[in-house]
């Protein structure tokens, strides 16, 4: 069975059907994309999967284990990380500290050890700093390490958020419009990084408007419209699908 299974999930907001019976499976090591016009329910799907919305129907399974209804932090601890469309960072903290919050997932130091500054925990702290700097370098923004996140540009903030998600060694990574606000060069870095992550066995799930990025790196694409699945398949199948052309790209 797949790493992430979403089975006919439906979400209703006070009578408005935001999502209706949406299903999707994401295998480890693949990049899946969810596209659709604004208001199609893409972010709602992410919120339902990561525990911020409780679906009225349907099941979300991680490694075969149902997680629907669990609080966000519980789902996150099972290895599912996500970024937010806007404002997913800790404004007052520096870039390095933001990323270290991601690195902290790996450390096991307990309160007493930290409190008395035992050697093992000081070493762990130093390693977390080193790992964070390395990941920042990998994404190419290590020079921003000491800057306060609040002072960064929108594009830079997106890269920091992705770095933080990466360093926490996720098994499933949900990225909500990562490419928005990035320069073409930064988008290329993003594309290669995502492919590398998939190669390392992570299941990457992407909500994105930048179609050529989606088509270039996705193994499977899910098209949503008004909360329903319009089409699902490889980028080529979706590109050729008549219904998608009509609803999304305007009649050819």
């Amino acid at each position: 069975m797949a790493l992430l299974e979403i089975e006919s999930v439906s979400v209703v907001f006070g009578g408005l059907a935001a999502l209706t019976e949406v299903s999707l499976t994401a295998e480890a090591g693949t990049v899946s994309a969810v596209i659709g016009p604004n208001g199609a329910g893409k972010t709602t799907l992410f919120n339902a999967v990561s525990g911020y919305e409780r679906p009225q129907e349907g099941v979300v399974r991680l490694d075969g284990r149902p997680v629907t209804g669990l609080p966000p932090h519980a789902i996150s601890r099972l290895g599912l990380r996500r970024t937010f469309q806007n404002g997913g960072l800790f404004g007052e903290m520096t870039v390095l500290e933001n990323v270290m919050v991601g690195a902290d997932r790996a450390t096991r130091s307990g309160i007493p050890g930290v409190l008395f500054g035992l050697k093992r925990h000081r070493r762990e702290e130093r390693r977390a700093v080193a790992d964070s700097r390395a990941m920042l370098a990998r994404v190419g923004i290590d020079r921003l390490a000491q800057a306060r996140v609040r002072d960064l540009s929108f594009g830079q903030q997106r890269l920091v958020e992705i770095t933080r998600a990466l360093i926490s060694r996720p098994r499933v990574l949900l990225l909500d419009e990562p490419a928005v606000g990035l320069s073409q060069a930064e988008r290329d870095v993003l594309a290669t990084t995502l492919r590398q992550l998939a190669a390392e066995g992570i299941a990457v799930l992407l909500v994105e408007h930048v179609i050529d990025l989606v088509m270039a790196i996705s193994d499977r694409v899910l098209v949503l419209n008004f909360g329903r699945v319009l089409a699902e398949g490889t980028p080529d199948e979706v590109r050729a699908n008549q219904a998608v052309l009509e609803a999304y790209l305007g009649s050819a």
Partner: protein, 314 residues
């Protein structure tokens, strides 16, 4: 070679241990008070600065710590150390209880509930005569630790210095670890913190418990400092002082908290004898900080390079 900055703190500690040899009892008492309020400010800053929770319960924590110590030593004749530990523990539990509403209530509601809680506790001190001797005050018998008598201000100073250093060091370690980052992350963006696997509720509870524990220790020190505890000491004016310590010292800064304690404990000694002057000077300082220097003294201190390294601005 360990870098020189590691020697900064031990050197400061030795330097701080010297004054008792030079000062008279009055100045010694003021120094002891400064250490008590430094620990109060550190404890309160954890909830107000780092966790960003507008909680008005700090004077209540201070009272619980003082009364627990006074009761353990006065009525049950415990030596000082077990009384201190029980004060820290009991106040940490009270902190935990106070954190429960914090999970559901936003800014103003939390402030008002904790304000009511503090006043309810003080009413309890007054009316629980059988335990606290009510408003006639509860004496704290002479204390000793490991055989050393704590009767003299000088002995108390060294004890308070160790406690302050311990609290400062422990808090710095905690705040510069994944726990500290989790607390600040929850303050900055609760849903993003959850996405990183941080449990917001547990983190807030932890922050309140640690703050309670620290302020409980300060309460125990206060009981030793005065030698007698009575309910009026933990009223709204005490809370106003705690707020001034943290806001003027610097929100979210340990060194700022200590700086706030030094300034605001020494200042009243200079403003003696004039009705209302202390209140006016404190409020103008507070207004000045809020308008022009939001980071407080910490903001000022952080311009000094060597301090910025050790100034955990969180």
């Amino acid at each position: 070679m360990s870098d020189p900055r590691r020697l900064l703190w031990p050197a400061l500690l030795i330097l701080a241990a010297l004054p008792p040899f030079f000062v008279n009892d009055y100045v010694q008492y003021i120094l002891n008070s400064i250490l008590v309020y430094a620990v109060v400010a550190i404890g309160f800053n954890i909830v107000l600065g780092y966790a960003g929770q507008l909680a008005f319960a700090n004077a209540a924590f201070f009272g619980v710590g003082a009364y627990t110590t006074a009761i353990c030593m006065g009525r049950w004749h415990w030596p000082f150390l077990p009384a201190l530990l029980s004060a820290a523990l009991v106040t940490a539990l009270v902190g935990l209880v106070v954190s429960l509403p914090a999970l559901r209530l936003r800014a103003y509601y939390l402030a008002i509930v904790t304000l009511a809680f503090g006043e309810l506790l003080r009413w309890g001190y007054i009316h629980a005569d059988w335990l606290t001797l009510g408003s006639s005050g509860l004496p704290v018998p002479a204390a000793s630790m490991f055989g050393i008598s704590l009767a003299s201000d000088r002995a108390r100073y060294w004890l308070f210095l160790c406690l302050t250093a311990l609290v400062l060091w422990g808090s710095a370690n905690l705040l510069r670890s994944r726990f500290g980052r989790a607390v600040v992350a929850v303050r900055e963006n609760e849903s993003a913190a959850a996405a990183m696997g941080i449990a917001p509720a547990l983190t807030k509870i932890g922050a309140f418990a640690w703050s309670g524990c620290v302020v409980g220790i300060a309460g125990a020190m206060f009981a030793l400092l005065l030698g007698r505890i009575n309910p009026e000491s933990f009223d709204l004016s005490q809370l106003l002082l705690h707020f001034s310590l943290v806001m003027i010292g610097g929100l979210g800064s340990l060194v700022g908290s200590v700086a706030g304690a030094v300034v605001l404990t020494a200042a009243p000694e200079l403003l003696r004898n004039v009705a209302g002057l202390e209140e006016i000077v404190f409020s103008l300082l507070l207004i000045g900080v809020l308008l022009f220097m939001p980071k407080g003294l910490a903001g000022l201190l952080s311009r000094v390079a060597v301090l910025r390294e050790h100034l955990y601005l969180g």
